[in-house]
Amino acid sequence: MSRTRSINKRNGVALVLAAAAMLGGCSRVDVHSNSVRGVAYVRIDDVIKHHPLYPQVQQLESAIMAINLESTMPHAPLSPQEIAQQTQLLNQQLKDAQSRANAAIQQKQQQYNAQERQADIVALKAANIDPKAAGLGPQMNATSQQQARAAAQAAQQDLQQYQQSVVAQDNAAMTSVAQQLSKEADQKFRARAEQYQQEETDLSLRLAQQDATQRLSLRTKANNIAMDATTRQQVAQQLSALDKKEAEQVAALREQHQQDLAAYQKQLRAETTAAVQKQALAIRSQTNAKLSARQQQVGAQLRGLGAAPVPQQSIPPDVQQQLIKIHQEFGAKFQADAQATVAQYNATKSDLDRQFAALHGEDVGATGAAAKQVNDLQKRHDDLLAQIQSQIQREANKIAKDDGFTVVFDNVQAANGGYDLTNDLIRDVESLHE
């Protein structure tokens, strides 16, 4: 790979220019000239498009687009029974996620408690203090720790039960609202259908009355035994035509009514869905407020349980400080670890909330398995892009260093000076994979 610009050696002027460039200390651009001042810039996004792995990035983007496109497809509204059934399923998933998170947090708490106790013993022994005498032996504060654990467990269970009961109330209210609104829609639809049926019957009767004289006349003719076969056939055809005309008119009206009813049903469904959404929003908002208030209350209780253990025997101040430091360190580690579990739970809950919202007709994009698939694809996409960017970054560094630039920018909006390294970098990236 040679990035050195070719030098035209045909005349002396070119030779002089080449010498001047050499004095400037750069092989292809005068990095230190007034217009460049050691500054370069590159459009990394453009370079990425020339990387041999870019088609794979595009494939992943297409797959993500396809899933997102599918998730916004209109779906037929669900019946109240289906909504209730799926809501129950989502609630079970939420409950499982809560249980998993609580179990994981409890396990971590016990694990860090044990580690902290061990660190305390080591610290006391190092200070020539008998841990048992200090009340910090293996059985130290067993009662108080057990009490604290039991209180924390009870608080968690209480919160969990409260969440379940509030969510259950929410869902019961939602189901009831959905059923009520659906029932109202059904009543409206039935009323309209009965009205149309009445209109069809009225038309049928009206036509029959209009044609009554003609029909009677034809039937009288038909009953005449002296009539010849041809005339009889003609009369029969006339009667048949009369029936057909009436039937066609009634059928046309019925057809029109069927279309109207289909449109009306669609309209009712849309209205019902909108009304359910409105109610769902109000109910969910109340539920969130209740849960948030309770969470804060329980959080405060649990924080109160986290105070440093009070030694039972007088311990020198420096060792006490050390024990407090150990407690704080393990407390911080536990908090960080628990935070990850809580974040995981929140991600699950967030997806379940989205599924719940989607269930009630809200347009929330991909959820559930589709959302997981999108996340997986997005991660692969981001990893691949990071890999490409990293390679481009390395190449850009090499070029910039070789050329003697002091600083190279990306994402420049406009340039009045500096040197554009983009094309050099594109050539470089392409040549690396030739």
């Binding site: 000239s33 001042r37 983007e61 797959a63 396809a66 919202a357 600083v407 909006q413 406009a414 340039a415």
Partner: protein
């Protein structure tokens, strides 16, 4: 002939050496950068950001639900502004004091190092002065931080607030047209998606839709982008700036030319 050429070359070289210090300005070395990710990983920032993220997650759901009920564009705008304000207020409450200390720490470090601009690490491909550890040290120190008495020196790196430029009615109209176009085209592609039997076919439909949107975006927005770039370049030339970057990437200092670019675009 050869001798004359060599003497000419030597003379030119000597001349170049003699005039170089007076004619060539020094390289730009007063550019610093900071790794904001490292800053955000500090325990106090991490905790505040986690609280903010949790708040935002709740707010996003409320926002999505509220937008469903917004019928007109004016309604949508009102809803968007209301939620943005709520988020900003929470951000100010949680991150404001920390951010202020970080700003003071950065200003102190930049002044000490005589930097005219400090940018986000993400846009520095090579070189520049890394001030991250100095700033973290200043934030962590127990001493009170006071604003530096001197303002940063004038920078030859300018910046524009791209989000302010994107707020122009022309850009908004173009974005609205693009959204309408996507809404119109989507059902046809959803039908194609239904007919697709394999993953490859589905991805192909996704790619087609992506390309369609991308082409339309180019058609609607590229002329506006080019116009803005041209106006920005002209302002940069008039103000003797070397480069212009986005305001979002500037952490400290720099020369703000947003108003000049807006004026040029409104002419």
């Amino acid at each position: 002939m050869k001798k004359r050429l060599i003497s000419s070359l030597v003379a030119t070289a000597m001349l170049a050496v003699a005039i170089a210090p007076a004619a060539i300005a020094a390289d730009l070395t007063d550019v610093g950068f900071i790794d904001q990710t490292a800053l955000g990983s500090l325990p106090q920032f991490a905790s505040a950001n986690a609280q903010l993220a949790q708040y935002k997650a709740g707010l996003d759901q409320q926002f999505a639900a509220a937008m469903k009920h917004a019928r007109t564009d004016a309604d949508k705008q009102t809803v968007t502004m209301r939620f943005q304000q709520q988020l900003q207020e929470k951000q100010q409450e949680l991150v404001g004091p920390l951010f202020q200390r970080a700003q003071l720490a950065l200003a102190t470090v930049a002044t000490n190092r005589k930097l005219s601009i400090v940018v986000d690490k993400r846009i520095i491909v090579y070189g520049g002065q890394d001030v991250t550890s100095d700033v973290i040290g200043a934030i962590r120190s127990s001493q009170a931080l006071n604003p530096p008495s001197a303002s940063p020196p004038p920078s030859e790196i300018g910046f524009v607030d791209q989000s302010a430029l994107d707020n122009s009615s022309k850009v908004k109209d173009a974005n609205q047209q693009l959204q309408q176009y996507m809404d119109q085209q989507r059902p046809a592609f959803q039908q194609k998606l239904k007919a697709a039997k394999t993953d490859a076919e589905r991805n192909d439909v996704g790619a087609q839709f992506d390309k369609l949107v991308s082409d339309k975006r180019d058609q609607l927005l590229k002329p506006l982008v080019d116009q803005t770039k041209s106006a920005t370049a002209n302002v940069a030339k008039n103000k003797n700036l070397l480069l212009v970057i986005d305001r979002g990437d500037v952490i400290f200092g720099g020369t703000d030319i947003t108003q000049d670019v807006q004026n040029a675009l409104n002419k």
